[in-house]
Structures are given as C-alpha cells and as structure tokens.
C-alpha cells in the first residue's frame, strides 16, 4: 500500500516539476549559505587548533615579565635553580611587504615542540647540528618558504607543513638576529615534570608572572566575536532560504489536498500519509542539502582567502586560505537541511494531519485565516518587545544577538499587517477602477506572497543595517586615522642606536620628532600595550578622545594620569576618574579614553618619563616625524639613502592610511558578499512565490481580461504589482534596518569588539538599494508577466468554461 501511496505522491512532482525545482533550490540556498559560513568558521578554528597543537600553545604554564622582555640572566637563574623552562622569543618580521611572525625556541630545552617532532619524524629529517649551529635553519610552510628563498642573506630554509601559516619557526639564537633582539626572551614555558625541591619562583624571580595555561589568550578566543558575527549572518541567510521552503511546501500540500482526500476515502490512514510525506520531505531535504553543501563548499572556498587575510591582519590569527572538506561539516550541513526543511514544513504537515476527510480541496484553504494572522501579529509584537527587553537588561553579546533576532523576526511577522493596512489605505484613496482593483488585488495576494516579502524585509533590513554599520565605521575610521596619523612620516630604525642617530639627524630639519615606544604588560582584562608620549601640541589637538576629565594632557604629561583605549575602558569598566594598576605600586588615575579601532587588545598612554620608569629599556626604534607634507616624499628618500633603510621602514602617512583602509575593506568583504547573496535569495523567494501563485492567478485575472483589458496591460500590471509590493516592503525595511544598524553599532560592536561607533545616515545608499530592490522585483515578476503575455486566450477562457 505504501508503494502505491508513494507513486501517487510522486506524481504531483512530475506535474509540478518547477515547484520541485524551487523546493530543492530553496533548501540548497539555505544550506549552502549556512554551510559556507560554517566551513569558514570550522576551517579557521581548525587552523587555530593546528597552530596551537604544533606550537604547544596554551598547553603549559608560562612566565612573563609584565614590564617587557625577560632578560637572559633571569633565564640562567631559573635553569641553575633546577627549573625546567624553555625560552621563546617572538616578534613580527616584515619580508617583501608581508608581515610574518618569527618564533624562536630553545631547541635543546624544548624538545617536545610538536612541529619539530613531526619534522624529525619525516622522510627527510634535518640534521640536529644544522638546526642548532650557525647559521641555523628557518622552518616555514612551502608558500612562505618560496618567499624566503628570494632573500639570500637569510639562513637556509626547511619547508614543512607542520608549521602554521605565516610563521617562521627557528632556534632562539637565530630569532635574536632576525628580530634584532639580542639577549631577549618573550616568555618562558614551564615544562611538565619539574624536579622536586626547586625553590619557589617568588624567591628567585619575583618580577616574573606565572600565567596558567588555561588563562592564556589564544587566537580562538580573540576571534570568537568575529566568528559569532559570521554565524549570525549565516543563520539569517538560512532563515531567508527557509521562507522559500515554507512557501513551496505549503502550496504543494494545498495542491495535494484533493489527492490526499481521495486516498483517505480509499482507505489510506492519515498516519500513514503523514509519515510517507515526512519521509518524502526528508529525502528532498537530503538531496537539496547535498546540493547546498556543494554550493557552500565553493562559496566558502571563494570567501576564505579574504576572511583569512582579515583574521591575520586584525588578530594575527593563523588561518590557511584553503578550504578542506571535513566529514563533520558535511554531516552538520545535512542535519541543518533536514531540520530546517522539517521546521519549515511543520505547519503544512500539521494542518494536513488535522484536515477533515470531507473538507473542500480548494487552494483557498491554504491561506491563513484572519485569527491566525492576529495571533502571528501578536507574537511578532511580543518578540520585538521581548528582544528589546533582553537587550536592555542583559549585558552580553548573546543577549545583543537575541535582541536583534527578536526585533527582526517580530518585524517580519507583523509585516503582513502593516502591508495590508497600507494597501487598504491606498485602495480607499484610489479613484479609477483599475487602481482600485490593483490595490485590492495586491491585498488579496498578500497571504500567498507574505513569506517572500518577509524574506525580502529581512534581507533589506540586514543590508541597510549592516551597510549603515560598515559605512559609519568606515567614516569614523577615516576620521580617526586622520586624527591618529598626525605625522607625515613614520620611521622604523633597525636598532636603538640607529634610532638615536636618526632622531638627532632629523631634529634640526623637521618640526618635531615624536618617538613611538611601547611595552607589553599584563592586565586583568588581557594583554595591555603601554605607550609613552612626549609633550607635543599634535597630541593635544588631534588625539581622538571620546571621554576626558579637565586638563587631561597636562596631567598625563606631568606623570599624574593615564589615557586608556576604549577597548580597555569597556572591558575593565575604567573611565575618567577611575584608577588603573599597571603593576604593583604603579597605579594611575585615568584622565581620558580614546577610540582605537581595529585593535583587539587593551592599550594605554603615559608620559615618556613615566614609561621609562615603569618599563625601562623599551625600544626607541620608531618615530613619527612632523614636517611639511610637501617635503615628506623627499625626506623619506633622504632617510632611506642616509641610513640604508629598506623601503618599508619609512612610510608616508598617505600610504599608511591607504594600507589601513585596504585592511578595513577586506574585513567586510565577506559581510558584503553575504549581504548580496541574502538579497539574491530574497529576490528568488519572490520569484518562486509568484510562480507558485500562478495557478491561483488565472481566476482573478480572467474576468478583468474579459471586461476589456489586454494581456499586455495585465502583464504590465503584474509587474507593477510586484514592484509596488517590493517598494512598500523596502519602505518598511528602512526603519527596521536603522534599528538594526543602531543595535550593531551600539550593542553588538561594544560587546564583540569593545568599541561603540557613532551612527551616520547614508540616504544615497538607501536610494541605490531601493532601486536594486525594485529591479529585483521587476526581474522576479518578469517571468510570470511573460507567461501572462503569451497565454493563449483559450487558457483564460477555460476559467469561464462551464464544464471545468
């Protein structure tokens, strides 16, 4: 019996192949966009994990000096006392315009480094003597190795896939030379199995701080917010795709009502029917899901290089630019397709299961009843109110996303009400019979189109919201760069001595030489970079303060106060008047907070003498040089020539800004791509809705045609109708998009990245999006309109036929 039932059900798809294609495309798009985001996230996290594993990051406790590098003699003291510690020296190195990380480890003391072990176990293990003796060896991934080969002055290169991307692994002695940090150690790794009776660290090296393995800041934690943002976008795309599935399954069920009623009358139980249809939907979900996985894989492959560049640039997180197919990703994607399809079909299945045997089989039954509309509207209002309540009462990123989710979903649910109200108002004001009919007909079509319009509303609101956020951020960022990059030239000397020579040489020739010196400290909120500044009007005039107390610069330069960046202020709830402890005995009052976009870590500024007191010996290699902009290019060349500096060691302000903006723009490439794709999916949802509603349209159109309108006129009106509905939805999406933008700027960004941004409005962008929406609606309606235009009169006459 089941086989016969299946044959009957499948016959529906044979007759409605376009509907089947729409359903599969809907599932594929939903799964594809979601899976693409998941593939990117999974790949990035796998990269972090690989890097952590290979370099044993976060595996052992560490010792750090809060004031800066650890001196070699401290290391010697610890080793002599019996402590099993391994020295690590790390730092960035710029090679051929690319910044890579150098990690130098004590190869003798730290034999368990997995990257090394793996290499030693390879078919061509390096000779330990080569690695440990001068000139040593540099280990790098093949792509980086290819870059290093171009520099003959570097030690020999060993290619290894065991090394994380954009990292040079070498012996600490080689790293000292490469980084020009002789005798310095960044951190000491406390190896397992320490001997008994070693003297406590507090006695022999009290200045060193022991950091538990579990509290170390790693790439995964740093990038959590970034990945959460991507996941949220993926979910939105998934939801928009499910609108297509919901609409198509709903119509298919409605069209099958007569068939199902007949089968029930012939003795097939409703239970058997429901189970068979559920199995059928599950099968379709798996087919659509598989197509979606293929789409997602290629999409992720296309987007990952930009995401990887962003994560490296913004967080220094090691991410491979290539996507690898992982079974758990495929399984999760199929599970999402299955769950999403069953969720989107749940209502249709439920209504089917409760359909009385003797009920009419008409398509009208598919429409939502008035009371059901009221319930949906009330749920929508509840979600909006609940979302705002959560956002205002709970202070977390998840609560922020819950607020955004509640407001978006709630608004989508009340959209049909708002549209119906607007259409009814227009109908009452319409004068001509055609205008009246168009508005009334749009209102009648609304139940069938509302899901697609909800999807469009969400996609448009996301576009407006995210677009406003990105553009506001960009505008703020550009202004902030103008303020922060006050010097015309930025110079990096090869060492402190050359730095001193450069400063002396420049002093009589330029307006000012502003040293840029910093040390890395540890604060309870995470790493803290402490900078020193000299007294110069440029800081007083341009530094981008977002909160300050009276005499802010006077107090900082007098050594009485400190400035902190917004990230540190928000994380530690530290604002002007509060105190911040840099290390034991060094507590300063905060006199101001400054914006510091693009930097995930805490930062603070004190006077230069204060920096020297807290952390003596900080590098004096970098300078900002104030001089006439017209003389900047000439001076840059003069510096390079006189001191033999490489091109990238002397950077002009304009180049630095351009580079910063390039990084900024790359950061949002993935967001923009998902934005456009979501809008595309919403456009497709309108097309599928119009096509699936086509069967219902003829009885509505045919009488008007019979009363004297041509098919061409009706086709034009079909397109006008689609455009008007899209335009109304777009108008309603604007306030929702602005609410979303506010939530992103004032809630999500603060929670995720630690900065709050001012909101700017971009009416021209909205106008462009509005036109794009109208175009999408026009394109979506073009096919149904073309069908109508070419419809033989015989098909329209069939509506009037008595023997239908």
């Amino acid at each position: 019996m089941t086989r016969t039932v299946i044959q009957a059900l499948v016959s529906h798809w044979r007759r409605h192949w376009l509907q089947l294609a729409t359903l599969l495309i809907g599932i594929a798009l939903a799964t594809g966009l979601w899976s693409a985001v998941q593939a990117i996230n999974t790949e990035a996290r796998a990269s972090y994990q690989r890097a952590s594993d290979q370099l044993a990051l976060g595996l052992f406790d560490e010792l750090r000096d809060p004031t800066g590098p650890i001196s070699l003699d401290r290391y010697v003291v610890l080793r002599r006392a019996g402590w099993q510690v391994a020295a690590v020296l790390e730092g960035p190195l710029r090679i051929s315009g690319r910044t890579v990380q150098v990690m130098g480890v004590d190869m003798v003391a730290y034999p368990a480094l997995p990257a090394m072990t793996q290499m030693e176990q390879s078919d061509t293990p390096p000779d330990p003597a080569d690695v440990l003796t001068a000139p040593g060896r540099l280990q790098a991934k093949p792509d980086l190795a290819a870059l290093l080969y171009a520099h003959p002055n570097l030690p020999p290169i060993l290619e290894s896939d065991a090394v994380p991307p954009d990292l040079i692994l070498t012996d600490i002695g080689v790293a000292e030379i490469l980084l020009d940090k002789p005798g310095q150690i960044s951190r000491l790794i406390v190896l397992p199995d320490q001997p008994r009776d070693v003297p406590p660290l507090s006695e022999i090296t009290p200045e060193l701080q022991r950091i538990e393995a579990s509290t170390q800041l790693n790439a995964e934690r740093l990038t959590d917010s970034f990945h959460l943002n991507l996941t949220a976008f993926g979910l939105l795309s998934f939801a928009v795709g499910l609108f297509i599935v919901h609409g198509t399954v709903g119509l298919a069920m409605a069209q099958r009502r007569a068939m199902i009623r007949t089968m029930r009358a012939l003795g097939v139980s409703m239970r058997r029917l429901v189970w068979t249809i559920t199995a059928e939907l599950a099968l379709l979900a798996l087919i659509g899901g598989t197509l979606g996985l293929i789409l997602g894989f290629f999409l992720a492959g296309a987007l990952l290089p930009d995401v990887a560049a962003t994560l490296r640039g913004l967080y220094g997180a090691p991410v491979d630019g290539q996507i690898n197919l992982q079974p758990q990703w495929a399984l999760a994607g199929l599970a999402m397709a299955l769950a999403g399809t069953l969720l989107a079909s749940g209502q249709a299945l439920y209504r089917l299961s409760r359909m009385p045997l003797l009920t009419g089989a008409g398509l009208q039954a598919w429409r939502v009843s008035g009371s059901s509309h009221l319930t949906t509207g009330l749920i929508g209002i509840g979600l909006i109110v609940g979302g705002f309540a959560i956002g205002h009462t709970i202070d977390s990123l998840v609560a922020g996303f819950a607020m955004v989710g509640g407001v978006l979903t709630g608004s989508a649910l009340i959209l049909p009400y708002l549209l119906s109200f607007a259409l009814s108002t227009f109908q009452h004001r319409a004068k001509g019979p055609l205008a009246q009919w168009i508005w009334a007909d749009m209102q009648a079509q609304l139940p069938g189109l509302s899901l697609a319009l909800m999807a469009l509303l969400l996609a448009l609101a996301a576009n407006i919201g995210v677009g406003t956020m990105v553009s506001s951020f960009r505008l703020t960022f550009v202004g902030w760069l103008d303020q922060r990059l006050t010097s015309e030239l930025y110079v990096t000397a090869t060492d402190n001595q050359q730095g001193q020579q450069i400063a002396e040489w420049l002093d009589p020739q330029v307006d000012a030489v502003l040293p840029i010196r910093s040390v890395e400290l540890t604060h309870e909120t995470g790493p803290l970079f402490l900078y020193g500044v000299v007294d110069h009007q440029a800081y007083r005039d341009h530094w981008p303060l977002i909160a300050s107390s009276e005499g802010v610069w006077d107090r900082v330069l007098a050594g009485e106060a400190i400035l902190v960046n917004e990230q540190l202020a928000r994380r530690g709830n530290l604002w002007p008047g509060d105190e911040v402890t840099l290390r034991e005995g060094d507590t300063l009052t905060i006199s101001g907070v400054y914006s510091d976009y693009g930097n995930p870590t805490g930062q603070a500024i004190v006077s230069m003498p204060q920096l020297d007191r807290i952390a003596p010996g900080a590098d004096t290699r970098r300078f900002g040089i104030r001089l006439s902009p017209a003389a900047a290019t000439e001076m840059a060349q003069a510096l390079r020539d006189r001191f033999g500096l490489p091109r990238q060691a002397v950077v002009q302000q304009a180049a630095m800004k351009a580079q910063s903006l390039t990084i900024f723009d790359k950061t949002f490439v993935v967001t923009s791509a998902l934005n456009v794709l979501t809008l595309g999916v919403a456009g497709f949802a309108i097309l599928t809705s119009l096509l699936t509603l086509w069967t219902q349209r003829l009885p509505q159109i045919a009488p008007v045609w019979a009363l004297g309108l041509t098919r061409a006129q009706l086709a034009r009106l079909e397109m006008l109708r689609s455009v008007l509905l899209a335009a109304l939805t777009a108008v309603l999406a604007l306030p929702l998009g602005l609410v979303l933008a506010w939530a992103l700027l004032a809630v999500i960004n603060v929670q995720a990245f630690g900065w709050r941004l001012p909101m700017f409005l971009f009416p021209m962008d909205w106008a462009y999006l509005f036109l794009l929406t109208l175009l999408a609606a026009l394109v979506a309606a073009a096919l149904p309109a073309l069908r109508l235009l070419r419809l033989p009169p015989a098909d329209l006459l069939r509506v009037f036929a008595n023997e239908r």
Binding site: A440, Q700, V704, W705, L707, L797, V799, F800
Partner: protein
Amino acid sequence: MLLNIDKVQKSYPGGRPVLRDVSLTLDHGQTLALTGESGSGKSTLLNLTAALDSFDGGEITLDGTALSPLDDAGRAAMRRRSVSLVFQQFNLIPSLTVGQNLSFHARLADREDVDWTARLAERLGLSDLLSRYPESLSGGQQQRVAIGRAMAPRPKLLLADEPTGNLDETASTNVLDLMLSLVAETGAALLLVTHSHDIAARLDRHAHLSGGHIT
C-alpha cells in the same frame, strides 16, 4: 443590424472543427436563445462574439465593426465598450466589494452612471450588500451582482453563458426575470446560451447548434 455572424469557422488545436460555417443575426433589442448539446460549440460561439477569442474563417460584425481585423487591443476595446458578459460561474472579482464589482465594467468603459448603478443595485436587491465581498454571498446573489455589472455600462449586446446553470429553480427564475426585464428596459439585445428549453421558450428567438452547424 446589431450582430451579424457570417459563416464563422473555428477549430481547436489538433484540427478538430467546432464551428462550421455558422451564420446568425441579431437586431437591436432582440433576444435569442442558443441551445445545443455539451461540446456542440455554444460557448465557443459566445466567446467569439464577445471578442474573447479569434476565429479561423468567416466574419463577425458587431455594431458595424468587423472583429477579424482587430488586434488584441481592438478586441479588448470591443469587450469594454460594446458587449457585456454574464457567466455561469459568476466570475466576480473576489478582491473588490459588491459595490465596486457592480460599477467596475462601467467605469472601465468610461460610462459610469451613478444613479443608474444605484437603481440597478436596488432592482437586483443588492443595496444592503454593497460593502460585502463576493465570497460572502449566495450563488443567486453573486449572479445578480454579475448581471448588475454587465448592465451597468448599458451595453448594446448582453451575452450570457448558462447564467442560471449553477442556481436552484427559484433563484434561476428570479435571475432570468431580472435579466429579461433589464434587457427590455435598456433596449439591449441578448444572446443567451442555455440547455433549458423552458428558458429558451421565454426569448424572442431560438437557435440550435449541432455538429458545428445552426439547425
């Protein structure tokens, strides 16, 4: 002469002929019943007369205008201005109210007469139903709205395809009475397709269609 159907031929796709050299005339104010078996081509002839479909041969002249040279827009204009239609399935516009449906055709034809429409509503017993939607009306009420819509532009020719086919006997008699009295009042001609010989007997003339010919 208002309507002249001259040797009209029509075949369906596949070549099956439905009408073979059918000829018929109708004067102003005259009523004619067209009967025939199912599939005999009654509705097809009505559709051709209403300029809803094109024919393969012959000519139909309505109020002095030949239909065969007309393009899509010309046929639409003819439907709008010269004929009115009443169908068995009523075919009201579901999204418009009864009042809007009543005046719809007249307004499309630019011939709305508010007083006349109000009188029609009263005569058809629809005055209290004007703000309601078609789906909430009975079959008899819906057909009265359809007749009102058809008569509102004061057409020269009213074409009715089994207008009482979906109604019970009482409603059927009422609807026919109303239609005939309105036709008489306005001076319109009526071409009515029906299976019923009783209805056919109440009209001025009677034509029977069989095998694609008028007998």
